[in-house]
């Protein structure tokens, strides 16, 4: 791997649309963070979230998903080897991401077809010619999975050994992390180490450090077991064309995050602007906006999405020349899917914002501002907007998991992401055929299931904590 980094000029960065928007999303999240840090009424509930052990554990897992997703969002094209000196520099048409480099072998070790997790031999029998001209139907050995095994080393012994070494490394790393962190923490609070341990266990800090440390340790141990194993074997098997399923599941993270995150980013301006405008101006503006969203919401969501995606397909077929690569085409389709999903999902938030603005408009401080002659724009930005922010925060985190789940369903219906794009939805979709085989191919479904479940569950737990903290009705209970 290091030789990749020695010569940076051998890369040509590629910025896909969703990459740019994801970075924009990050930037706007940063901006919101800065904004929130100056707003006491938003900070107080966030402090409450920070103290909750379960929420912080969920956030840790979420952040590691986001980390992988971001790694997968930095795309580039590699330089092709020069065939003759003085030739113009050419770049590979294949768009890779930083994640592809990091996982390296996972991407490249492609078998011929299905193989079970940790298998050394193919899943299906093939006719093979043995030396001496004898032809036999046998399970052919895999080209990469367990290829390092020799006669003296059996598969199960090797796996046990790798598991043991990986677990040991993981425990060591986790322990080091724990020691370093608790030492730093006790230095910071100027308290003896023993007291720090006690405080960690009883969740006495402003941030639930204990939960974060435990989650991080578990992740570290898991990763240190997975890395050596997946280097030697296909940890979750291979799919129909022999690609490593673990690699596919990892690549699916980005697709899920883009759908969950970008859709919100896309719809947020609409919902904010229309919702506040309807609530504040009332009269015909309100009537018009209400009519608009009632009409849109009366079309069943899946059907509207299906109709829009069908039309998008027609459009993309017509303008097939304007996309330079499959990756680019899949990316544009993903972006439009986000736009379309955004079109159907802004309505709920808009309705909430309208209601809240209607209420705020009559509040004393807004009336006072009007009486003092404060301009309309200023009232909207200084007095209304900060006081509806909590609704925006709640609905952003609440929508996320639903959108990730929707991706799978839409891909199944055939109106989801591009079939060429790696996504959990597409993996599940192909699993339908695999489950009908005898014996069944269960690993791609399980891998997609575990990765998706992890993301959606942690997002749900985190969003619950955020909602509990921000929703005053629930807090009083």
């Amino acid at each position: 791997m290091p030789d990749f980094f020695t010569n940076l000029s051998s890369f040509k960065p590629v910025f896909l649309w969703t990459d740019i928007l994801l970075l924009l999303l990050l930037a706007s999240m940063g901006a919101i963070g800065v904004y929130v840090s100056g707003q006491e009424h938003l900070l107080a509930p966030l402090r409450q979230v920070r103290r909750r052990a379960l929420a912080m554990a969920a956030l840790t897992v979420l952040l590691s998903y986001i980390g992988i997703g971001l790694l997968d969002s930095l795309h580039f094209r590699q330089k092709l080897p020069q065939i003759e000196a003085g030739q113009e520099i050419q770049y590979s048409p294949e768009v890779l991401s930083l994640l592809d480099l990091v996982v390296g072998r996972l991407r490249k070790n492609v078998e011929r077809t299905y193989s079970a997790p940790l298998a050394t031999h193919s899943f299906a029998k093939e006719m093979i010619e043995f030396p001496g001209g004898v032809k036999k139907r046998v399970f052919p050995p895999l080209s990469y999975g367990g290829a390092h095994l020799t006669d003296g080393l059996t598969q199960s012994a090797d796996i046990k050994q790798t598991l043991f070494m990986g677990g040991l490394t993981g425990l060591f790393l986790a322990f080091t992390l724990f020691l370093t962190f608790s030492f730093l923490l006790s230095r910071h609070h100027r308290s003896p180490w023993k007291k720090t341990l006690h405080a960690l266990r009883n969740n006495q800090y402003e941030t639930a450090w204990g939960a974060i440390l435990i989650t991080l340790s578990l992740i570290i141990i898991m990763v240190s077991i997975v890395i050596p194993l997946s280097a030697k074997y296909h940890l979750s098997g291979t799919d129909k064309v022999g690609q490593d399923v673990l690699y596919l599941a990892l690549k699916g993270i980005r697709t899920g995050l883009v759908i969950g995150g970008l859709t919100t980013l896309v719809m947020l301006p609409f919902a904010l602007f229309l919702g506040i405008a309807a609530g504040y101006f009332r009269g015909w503006v309100d009537d018009l906006i209400q009519y608009l969203y009632t009409t849109l919401s009366s079309v069943p969501g899946v059907l509207l999405i299906a109709a829009a995606v069908l039309i998008l397909q027609v459009y993309m077929d017509k303008h097939a020349d304007s996309f330079s690569s499959i990756t680019e085409r899949a990316d544009i389709r993903l972006l439009f899917l986000c736009l379309i999903l955004g079109m159907t999902s802004w309505i709920g938030l808009c309705r909430l914002l309208r209601g809240e603005t209607l209420k705020l408009r009559e509040s004393e401080y807004v009336q006072a501002a009007i009486a003092l002659g404060v301009g309309r724009t200023r009232i909207l930005i200084r007095h209304i907007l900060p006081n509806v922010m909590h609704i925006v925060l709640i609905s952003v985190v609440l929508d996320f998991s639903g959108l990730v789940l929707a991706e799978a369903v839409l891909s199944y219906v055939g109106v989801g992401v591009d079939p060429a794009m790696i996504s959990w939805g597409n993996m599940i979709n192909s699993a339908r055929m695999e489950m009908a085989r005898e014996p069944i191919v269960w690993w791609s479904l399980s891998a997609a299931f575990i990765f998706m479940f992890g993301l959606v569950l942690t997002a749900n737990i985190f969003s619950d904590a955020v909602r509990d903290a921000f929703d005053p009705r629930l807090r009083s209970r």
Partner: protein, 325 residues
């Protein structure tokens, strides 16, 4: 009361017009009949004559909104908008790309959809409300905490997994019910059990949590405290007072989806090969039959608006305060 309903009806009409205009925009303006023809004839190397012939065969060979070549009122009536879009108002859905009558297909396929959707709704409602009541009864205890955790975990699993897993477990491993298919009459029962159960399991997490919130909100109110102060047992309070009051949000939540039951469920029907409207829609999407998708979009919106109307009416029925205003 009548005036109220009439007012709601009048309010629903413009929305229906809006939906109609939206489908017209999506299916004829953004995606022109030429595109549709090319899509079906395949690729770009299609001659203009072939496109024109396809359009003529399917009745798309007219101007979009105004026909200048026609006489009198024909200027407006001999157009795609009038023939394809406005006719939807009279439930004249026209013909699919393969020439079948969409309206007749819908009437025929409606019944399997209902046969699976109605039991699904009733069983789901009963189980969700019961479980939520139990959790509310044991509120702020371990049962409550773990109930919510299980509910959150269950709603974090995609419905596709429930279906694939359920089919595998009940049909392939245990061989209790057929994996998929449909039959008329009472024979349908054995095909419907599995989808209904899986639908129940897939929805129980979301449903329980939703109803628990409603119950907890009611339990916090003053009349509950009064009932307890009278010395009523917790069970009487829950079933006699809380449940009755919580029925208002429950009922309105259910009423709005009743008309949509006709549409069936896309995923369930296609996995279990039930010949309902859901699988009809999926087939249409896969074969890119825009006429059917358009008809289903309009029908879906129509049913949704009916649902909203029914919700309004049921509100006035269960909550006299609405009627008096």
């Amino acid at each position: 009361m009548t005036a109220y309903i009439v007012r709601r009806l009048l309010y629903a009409f413009p929305i229906l017009i809006g939906v109609n205009l939206l489908t017209f925009l999506l299916f004829f303006v953004i995606n022109t009949p030429d595109d549709m023809a090319r899509l079906h004839l395949g690729g770009k190397r299609v001659t203009q004559e072939a496109v024109d012939k396809w359009k003529a065969d399917h009745g798309y060979n007219k101007p979009l909104a105004i026909n200048l070549s026609a006489q009198g009122s024909g200027k407006l009536t001999e157009t795609i908008f009038f023939e394809k879009s406005l006719r939807l108002f009279f439930f004249d859905f026209g013909r699919a790309d393969d020439g079948r009558n969409i309206g007749a297909d819908i009437r025929q396929r409606m019944w399997p959809s209902l046969a699976i959707a109605i039991p699904g709704l009733l069983v789901g409602l009963f189980v969700n409300v019961t479980v939520a009541m139990l959790i509310a009864f044991f509120r702020a205890s371990y049962i409550d905490t773990w109930g919510v955790i299980v509910a959150v975990a269950m709603m974090s699993i995609s419905s596709l997994f429930y279906i694939i897993g359920g089919q595998f477990l009940f049909s392939k491993m245990l061989r209790l019910v057929p994996i998929s298919g449909y039959d008329g009459g009472l024979n349908a029962v054995k095909f419907l059990i599995l989808p209904v159960i899986i639908g129940l399991i897939a929805g129980v997490g979301t449903g329980t949590r939703w109803y628990r919130t409603i119950f907890l909100e009611e339990i916090g109110k003053d009349y509950v405290r009064t009932a307890r102060a009278k010395g009523l047992s917790e069970l009487t309070v829950l079933f006699g007072h809380v449940l009755r009051n919580a029925l208002v949000p429950i009922l309105t939540g259910v009423v709005v989806v009743i008309p949509l039951l006709f549409l069936g469920s896309l995923i369930t029907e296609s996995f279990f090969s039930i010949p309902g409207l859901g699988s009809y829609t999926i087939d249409a999407i896969n074969s890119q039959d825009f006429a059917i998708v358009r008809a289903m979009v309009f029908l879906g919106s129509f049913l949704y608006i009916i649902g909203l109307l029914l919700t309004d009416i049921s509100y006035t029925w269960v909550d006299p305060r609405v009627r008096l205003n």
